[in-house]
Symmetry: C2
Subunit: 292 residues, 2 copies
């Protein structure tokens, strides 16, 4: 029997839950694989990983984990004996999870060496986001696939991805000079819209191709937050390439009620029959940028 | 005598400094204009603004200020009697400051109504960044130009732009669903590189045109922060359009020692004779994305 992959929290298994062994995690689909540390594949994404001390290059800072992908190690000695591959189903799954913003359950095993590891059994560390992927030469000399994971669960006492990100990049630097920030926030709703358009820009039909899949951005027509207070709703979202996202946010072009583009773009916004835009949001954008 | 415009902090005038009147601010170039609340112009940018209760639509939340631009009000009654214009030198200056990340000195006058205003004279509130600009119908019914300013000075007890941004956008939402973040941080060095290339992408020569000027992004070749620890230095920076920035960060293409593009782009990276790239940074990027 193959259990279906489940992303995010599993009912009744809270952060901090403890399991005696790997077998106990399987019935609930919490982590379905006994043999492999990664539960996932390139088609669906990765839903859970176990840190079990198998890779000498792992770094565990608690809310941030530098994780080594799967493959290339000798099954008996555990030592790296050949290059890791991005095509490995676990690694491909982590790339997919990064690209789609899918949450990954992180479990620390007793063999994993860190301040956060249990002395016996397996401890559920909560939900993490995959925020970066790259490759490098490991201590063994062979190529390893690396992932940076950041805590993104519901525990308000722990750090958010934003706080972790700021810790890294701004500690000393942030007060030193004027900076411009552009924070792009992709929600589930925005993912739905991007999938509807197969990641093609609704203005120029461009898709950004990356090794881990297609890339586009969900752009809010009426901005979120003070003072605009727009909704994070599909009738307030369009799928754009990064270039048109910047231009739209800065008012280089806007959209009329009949979806005609005005400003520095001409033609019409491509629209899917299943996608309804709120004309009041379009009007708000036009007014904000002086097109009315 | 015309004094030169000065951006940023003025020596010996610390945040919290108090002035008896507008005249006292002028000799040091702290705020050079007696008549206007905005010290700046579209060519150089705006260096200082005074909040003096002149506009009924202003909102002052301390570290965040929603500011109404200049123009359109009757000099006697102070009432809005016509539309404001983006071409007004003060408004154009604030747009320029937004686009270039120039800091703006904010001064609160005794007539300004807020919890932070002095009861007499003028109080220096510190450096702010202009983070958003749009237009709307004011309470008067006439068009007003609006700016969102966020504190960006050196006082560690106050909120940073990042903290303010997070307060707005994530308070309730951040714990609810998986999100992807893309934070683009533009430093002074990155501005220098972008100016060197006149905001043209070093891959495709595209420039993003906006109402407030040309737009491009400074891309770090070896990423900043843990675990990559790249430098914020011109030999580690290139000028890219947002689309190529995403593709470069995700490894869709990389750059050889001779600046030949590899991966999904062909041809060579455009390079200015004054711009030297560190070949070790290029190599780091190639290794990270599997091109070596």
């Amino acid at each position: 029997m193959t259990r279906k992959i489940v992303f995010g929290e599993i009912p009744e298994i809270e952060e901090g839950s403890w399991f005696e062994g790997r077998k106990e995690m399987m019935p609930s689909s919490f982590h379905r694989n006994w043999g492999s540390g990664i539960d996932g594949n390139g088609k669906e994404g990765t839903a859970a990983i176990v840190l079990s001390g198998g890779y000498e290059d792992d770094q565990d800072l608690g809310d941030v984990i530098i994780y080594t992908g799967a493959g290339g190690n000798d099954t008996n000695s555990g030592k790296q004996v050949e290059d890791q591959q991005w095509e490995n189903r676990g690694n491909a799954g982590l790339l997919k999870s990064m690209n789609e913003g899918l949450p990954v359950r992180v479990i620390r095993g007793f063999k994993h060496k860190s301040d956060f590891s249990p002395t016996s059994g397996y401890l559920y560390a909560g939900l993490y986001s995959v925020v970066d992927a790259w490759e490098e030469k490991g201590k063994s000399g062979f190529r390893i696939c690396r992932f940076k994971l950041e805590y993104s669960g519901n525990n308000n006492l722990r750090k958010t991805p934003e706080e972790i990100e700021l810790d890294y990049n701004t500690k000393e630097k942030k007060r030193k000079e004027g900076i411009i920030l552009r924070i792009i926030r992709d929600s589930k709703i925005s993912n739905e819209i991007k999938n509807l358009y197969n990641y093609e820009c609704q203005v120029c039909k461009t898709t950004i191709l990356t090794k881990s899949g297609r890339y586009a951005e969900g752009a809010h027509i009426r901005p979120l937050g003070n003072p605009h207070e727009g909704d994070d709703n599909s009738n307030n979202l369009i799928c754009l390439c990064p270039n048109h996202h910047v231009m739209f946010d800065k008012g280089s072009f806007s959209i009329q009620k009949d979806l005609k583009l005005i400003g520095c773009e001409s033609g019409f916004l491509f629209i899917h029959p299943k996608h309804n835009l709120n004309v009041l949001n379009l009007e708000y954008h036009r007014i904000c940028h002086g097109y009315n």
